[in-house]
């Protein structure tokens, strides 16, 4: 049987995590079909058909799908789910909202947020905010699985030419209405996908002092993160929060500045490839996960750091 991946998009382009989910889905079964539910999203269908790992694109085009509403998406998925052994999507706010609704109506116990495919029915997933890993086997005949996007490489996006099949829409829910979406606009890379993240904690002492972080972020083309303590103290807005209750990030380089390293924060960043900690308290728990620790006053270290970076001319954008 084939696997069905639900694409996330904005009717103009595919959202990047979909490509990570495609990689994971293809590890479950190579006969991978992608379901695109949208309104006037022909460009998205074309992009998906060019992904070499995708064998077929199923395209539902109807104005009721102009905005993503879980109730409407669920009805559309259920209409076409019969032929598939697995229904898959990314475990971001899109998939977390959607998949359990689908799973419940199929009477399936969903496997959430997997970080590894061990076999088509067995997966590795973090529990307790990544403080333990569980190997789980689903005994349901059909499976609903969500994928932690940062644990899988993004699939190649060009070179393929999958067939695009138009299929029927389902009924619209009358009890949920989309009103608006305020997207946070920024010239910086997105926190969840940035190659480098620099985060500040309570050690910054004020919102103004976050400029020290911003300056380094500009130089490194990094995303800006923060600990919960910094967010709670009002130094920075909560969309920057990294941790169990904020975003989980896995950049190539994570720089924690003035962050002590509470369990909740570590849960959001300790899978980063290289971790740097700058903190004046040499006993801070953050040093236990840092590859490179610098015991120093951040108000002296950050300007120096910027100066040293300026001396290098090899920084990759």
């Amino acid at each position: 049987m084939s696997v069905l991946l639900i694409a996330e998009h904005n009717n103009k382009e595919v959202k990047p995590f979909t490509f990570n989910a495609i990689t994971a889905a293809s590890q479950i079964d190579q006969d991978l079909h992608v379901l695109l539910i949208g309104s006037k999203a022909d460009d998205v269908a074309k992009s998906l058909s060019e992904v070499p790992l995708v064998k077929k694109v199923l395209h539902i085009d109807h104005e009721i799908y102009e905005n993503y509403i879980a109730e409407n998406y669920t009805a559309a998925i259920l209409k076409h789910a019969d032929k598939y052994s697995h229904i898959i999507c990314s475990a971001n706010t899109f998939g977390k909202n959607l998949m359990p609704r689908v799973a419940a109506l199929l009477d399936i116990s969903q496997v959430s947020d997997i970080i590894k495919v061990i076999s088509p029915d067995t997966f590795l997933r973090p529990i307790y905010a990544g403080n333990a890993f569980a190997t789980v086997k689903s005994n349901d005949e059909k499976k609903c699985v969500t994928i932690r996007p940062t644990s899988f490489e993004a699939a190649e996006t060009t070179g393929g030419s999958a067939e695009i099949e138009k299929i029927d829409a389902a009924d619209q829910s009358e009890n949920t209405k989309f009103i608006n979406r305020e997207e946070i606009k920024s010239d910086r890379p997105e926190l969840g996908t940035a190659r480098i993240v620099i985060s500040g904690g309570r050690g910054l002492q004020s919102g103004e002092n976050f400029k020290l972080i911003t300056d380094v972020a500009d130089k490194l083309n990094a995303a800006i993160g923060a600990s919960r303590a910094a967010v709670d103290a009002g130094y920075i807005t909560n969309e920057h929060q990294v941790g169990q209750t904020g975003k989980v990030v896995v950049p190539d380089l994570y720089i924690a500045v003035g962050i002590s390293g509470a369990i909740q924060h570590l849960a959001g960043m300790k899978e980063s490839k290289v971790i740097v900690a700058i903190n004046k308290d040499g006993e801070a728990p953050i040093f236990s996960v840092a590859d490179y620790g610098l015991e120093a006053d951040l108000f002296e270290a950050l300007p120096q750091f910027l100066e040293e970076l300026n001396k290098l001319n090899t920084i990759q954008k």
Binding site: A70, N92, T93, F94, K96, N97, P100, R101, A103, A104, I108, S109, Q110, V111, S112, D113, T122, P126, I127, Y128, G130, N131, A132, F133, V136, K137, S138, N139, S173, N175, T176, K177, F178, I179, R181, E182, E183, I184, I196, N238, Q244, D252, L253, I263, V274, V276, G282, V289, D291, Y292, G293, L294, E295, F305, E308, L309, L312, T314, I315, Q316
Partner: protein, 249 residues
């Protein structure tokens, strides 16, 4: 308006999780337990709505072993009017919990059901959406702001791109984000009063719900440990290491 709030008892968020040596689970003996943090936000929001005069009754419900009752008692101490404890032993998956909650909803007929967006033990993030599906009710997940109107709610949701606002007709399921509000502490007099509030006990087996797990936990293990790092003496050394050793800048 009647509000049902579902709460779960979990290992306290400040406890360092330890994995059992035989790989069967995590250590829970003699470990501090508390209410799942976003479930506290769910209770708080329900109490605020009642205080504003828009709700008449709050019922707190939990599904779990004998001691899970503590979370219901805590909800009563911060303002819920009465409690329901559905007793079940052993592992119970979100799918089964959602089926049990459906039975409770059918019995109590609330206009709104609140719960946390995710439990911090299994991190599944499923129960609210599954309950909404079983009831064919609208769902507003990851709520960070709620405006209660006559027959609908306007809910602002925390999504990856920023904030999304939707309107759902009641009855509806709302799952709460930690940013929704600041949960209050129970005062001592209210804790005393809560001891007199009723908690109805129901056996899950009497509800005719299949609670058998569908997912086998083959092994629970510690995540791979990071290799020990080094301390650098200066900013210069740090930058050199990042450039020449780690090759990340």
């Amino acid at each position: 308006m009647k509000i049902l709030v579902a709460v779960k008892r979990v290992i306290d968020y400040n406890v360092q999780i330890r994995v059992k040596e035989d790989g069967s689970g995590v250590v829970t003996d003699n470990v501090k337990m508390s209410t799942n943090p976003p479930d506290d936000n769910a209770i708080e929001e329900a109490v605020k709505i009642k205080e504003s005069g828009k709700a008449s009754e709050i019922i707190a419900v939990t599904v779990g072993e004998e001691k899970a009752q503590e979370t219901v008692r805590k909800a009563l101490a911060v303002g819920a009017d009465r409690g329901i404890h559905v007793k079940v032993d052993g592992t119970i998956e979100p799918l089964a919990v959602s089926k049990i909650l459906k039975k409770i909803v059918e019995k109590e007929n609330p206009d709104l059901v609140f719960m946390g967006k995710q439990a911090i033990d299994d991190d599944c993030n499923q129960t609210g959406q599954m309950l909404a599906a079983h009831l064919n009710w609208p769902q507003a997940t990851f709520a960070s702001k709620i405006e209660v109107n006559d027959k609908s709610l306007k809910v602002t949701r925390e999504v990856d791109e920023g904030l999304e606002t939707i309107e759902v007709n009641t009855p509806a399921i709302i799952t709460c984000d930690l940013r929704l509000n600041e949960p209050r502490y129970a005062s001592l007099p209210n804790i005393m009063k809560a001891k007199k509030k009723p908690i109805e006990q129901i056996n899950a087996s009497d509800l005719e719900v299949d609670t058998n797990p569908r997912i086998e936990h083959i092994k629970i293990e510690e995540p791979p440990k990071r290799k020990a790092g080094i301390k650098v003496a200066s900013v210069e050394e740090l930058v050199q290491k990042l450039k020449n050793e780690a090759k990340v800048i």
